[in-house]
Amino acid sequence: MSVKSKSIQNKSKDERLRKVSNLKVLLNRPELGALGGSILVFIFFGIVAGDTGMFSAYGTINFLEVSANLGIIAIAAALLMIGGEFDLSVGSMIGFAGICIAIPAIYWGWPLWSSILFAFSMAVLVGYANGILVVRTGLPSFIVTLAMLFILRGATLALTRLITGRTQVPGLRVLIENDPIAWIFSADAFKGVFTWLGSLGLIALRQDGTPLATGIPASVLWWVGMTIFATWLLMKTRYGNWIFASGGDKLGARNVGVPVGRVKISLFIGTAVAATIYACVQVLDAGSADTMRGFLKELEAIVAAVVGGCLLTGGYGSAIGAAFGALIFGTVSMGIYYTDVDTDWFKVFLGAMMLIAVIFNNFIRRRVTENK
């Protein structure tokens, strides 16, 4: 092609490129719904509960922590959903990981750090099992992981009762103090800043003069860190492109050389590992493990991912969206206590929000694929 014709072409290309307003570009982003929803939720609680202490340092930390816990698993669930699969065993994995930490540490005398590593290696195994079953059998992941939901929950209960004779394993708190890695999941960050703010009288203090909110919980940092990492992964790496491709068109992706099986298996490992991070945070925070921990969390994670713009059919979505989905969830579930509304209504809100999100997402998908 000659230089001249090329330059003409480039010119004509520019002419054809209609200036699209930033608003329109934004409208085509998957996370728009969750972002807008978050703003609406904050405006709502700002008006209804603005003077109740919900947005004090302590209140904010509270709802952020709930959001963060869910966010950790929602982001992994979102990646998996973009990759075209579900993981319904996340909630059971949380319970299972919890006792994987607690039983070796309490009953077998393992150092806490080694039982944490043990829990993570079990997570890799469970995730791998989910993944290999889905990839090899071609069965819907809905079914495979539903089976895993029951297997894991049952095994958690049976093993715990077999070894300990009950369904709870307390007594971990004393082990946290001197452990080399437990702080990763349990420490509060920026303690100094909070103490300083407290001494200035900017945030509420306890009787003994320490601030009520002692710092930013580790889970919040995990949530933010995982959101950034997952977004980078999706948008900026080869692996991210493979996730979109595997979920968008499994066969097509395979035909051009994307290792679809490996991508999906690694995403299943991702959700199980995220569930274990969640379990670490909870178990170390409460100082005990319970066989029923994480009950129904898999569905909450899916709600957050869907509200965050993930399509149930795969190939489309965002990690930032899922993080905002979790923020909406956490804010409303905590905020409702600060209002006069009966907390029983929370689940109604949750369901309605999911419905609206799905309808909205369908609309977005049509916009994106038809360019209307």
């Binding site: 004509s12 900026k236 968008g248 068109d249 051009v256």
Partner: protein, 264 residues
């Protein structure tokens, strides 16, 4: 010998007791468009899958650049420059033009664990390549779902060429397209061959195959009915040789019969 890019000699493929392919031989030269014609069930799909490494042939040999080879996977065929564009095109309609263009072979920048997908480079290559075939990609980050069928076909072909295809296997590239779009795609195929590629064009549409093909292999019930050069073959003869041709002749006779009995 050596001017054959690829030779498929006496390829057979069995599925249990079913003989899907028997003794099919095809040679593809540089710049040649070889049309593979056959009715539904003639074994076209099995042949494509065997040529592209999805199936292993049970008999016969594959010779690439004069060397006998075995394809263990589609990747092997791809590495030797034999690229297949399937009917489904292997495009993800929710993903952008660029992300589709480089799907599975993303250009990278940076070092070690911090290697990232070089989106800017990918965007500029994708729109340049599409521009070369006269498809004006307004915005390479637009979703493939917004493109027309012909544009998608051209994107898939152009992607295969960009990634070093020497032999292109095109599975029914015009079957789902309107007249204008089909002619755009056919024009592009001719251009690709003129630039030195070998093309295997699989179709059941004689009217699309005849104008662009240099030689024609006709497949019927798993067997090759022979390969013919264009100069030895008229369009009518080609039509007649496809299984459908004979059937249509018979149909015509039968229709006349019905017509006659009705009149009586």
């Amino acid at each position: 010998m050596s001017n054959n890019l690829v030779e498929f000699n006496n390829i057979s493929k069995f599925f249990g007791s079913v003989i899907a392919l028997k003794d099919v031989t095809m040679h593809i030269k540089k710049g040649q468009i070889m049309c593979l014609l056959g009715d539904n069930g003639a074994g076209k799909s099995t042949l494509i899958k065997t040529l592209s490494g999805v199936h292993k042939p049970d008999e016969g040999e594959i010779i690439v650049d004069g060397k006998q080879t075995v394809f263990d996977s589609p990747r092997d065929a791809l590495d030797l420059g034999i690229a297949t564009v399937y009917q489904d095109l292997a495009l993800v309609s929710l993903m952008s033009v660029t992300r589709n263009f480089f799907m599975g072979r993303e250009p990278m920048k940076g070092f070690g664990p911090f290697k990232t997908f070089d989106v800017n480079k990918a965007n500029s290559i994708a729109s340049e390549r599409m521009g070369q075939i006269g498809i004006d990609v307004r915005d390479p980050s637009q979703a493939v779902g917004t493109m027309s069928g012909g544009e998608r076909q051209c994107l898939a072909i152009s992607r295969a060429i960009y990634f070093g295809a020497k032999v292109l296997i095109l599975d029914e590239p015009t079957s789902a397209l309107g007249v204008h779009q089909a002619s755009v795609v056919l024009k592009y195929i001719v251009k690709a061959a003129a630039s030195g590629l070998g093309v295997i064009l699989i179709t059941h549409n004689v009217h699309h195959a005849y104008p662009v093909g240099n030689s024609f292999t006709i497949l019927n019930r798993g067997k090759s009915m022979g390969t013919f050069d264009k100069k030895d073959l008229s369009r009518e003869k080609l039509l007649g040789m496809m299984a459908g041709g004979e059937e249509l002749d018979k149909l015509e006779v039968e229709l006349k019969e019905i017509d006659r009995t009705n009149k009586n």
